[in-house]
Subunit: 145 residues, 2 copies
């Protein structure tokens, strides 16, 4: 199982520690292609600060989405890139799991909540995620078997 | 010419007055399907506050993107929904113009800047937009003629 994990970079790195924990848990279900999303040294300047060109990053990420069996996105920190990846992955027919932490004054886009092709799971604590992933990936396995 | 204008709603309404001005200028080039994006009474709670379901909003917006000859997005306020719309519109082969106002400490995603299929125009003042639109839509017309 190859997993594309999507989280915010230039949209803001408030959840970077959480991303690292999620990627660790996802590692129990398959290979996470995008481990760098959880890199606590990666800032909102993105990989450009590491000397990588946008064209390189885009081509690599598009190839990774294409290669992945499923996409898991953490959507709480608003991100343009994550939104793009969801639209692109959906156009390829990839199974998609969206994670979101509800809070007062924060609203998830209707382009996500109104889309029946996206599986949305609301959670508050990371302890809830293994059961959520178990359920989601058992469905993904069925698609590919 | 039918134009889908994409701007932030749940991502934040800081640019709502600007969206209204952009939509007015776009009206010189065709019919803007998404005039509500510039509605100054529309808050970050989105159209849900008007009693519309996410499923209705999603289905309508997907139909409008499909119907549009081109998509124009203002990307400065980070938005998950706009990102999704870009990915979806690209999968349909729509011509896409991305508008962005550069500023210190703000970074545009590599999923946008590294994507050669997106036309990105950086600007600072609304006075620059008519010339940008003139150039972009003359290319769109050529595609459809």
């Amino acid at each position: 199982m190859k997993i594309y994990f999507a989280g915010s970079i230039t949209g803001g790195r408030d959840d970077k520690d959480l991303y690292a924990q999620i990627i660790k848990i996802l590692g129990n279900f398959g290979i996470v292609l995008t481990e760098h999303i959880g890199n606590v040294n990666l800032t909102s300047q993105g990989e450009a600060a590491m000397g990588r060109t946008p064209e390189y990053i885009f081509s690599r990420d598009v190839a990774w989405v294409s290669e992945a069996d499923a996409l898991v996105g953490e959507l709480t920190v608003t991100s343009l890139g994550v939104g793009y990846e969801l639209g692109f992955a959906e156009s390829l027919g990839k199974p998609i799991l969206c994670l979101y932490r509800k809070a007062e004054g924060r609203h998830l886009s209707s382009m996500i909540t109104g889309n029946i092709k996206l599986k949305i799971e609301y959670y508050q604590n990371i302890e809830e995620l293994p059961a959520i992933f178990e359920k989601f990936f058992s469905g993904v396995k069925q698609i590919h078997e």
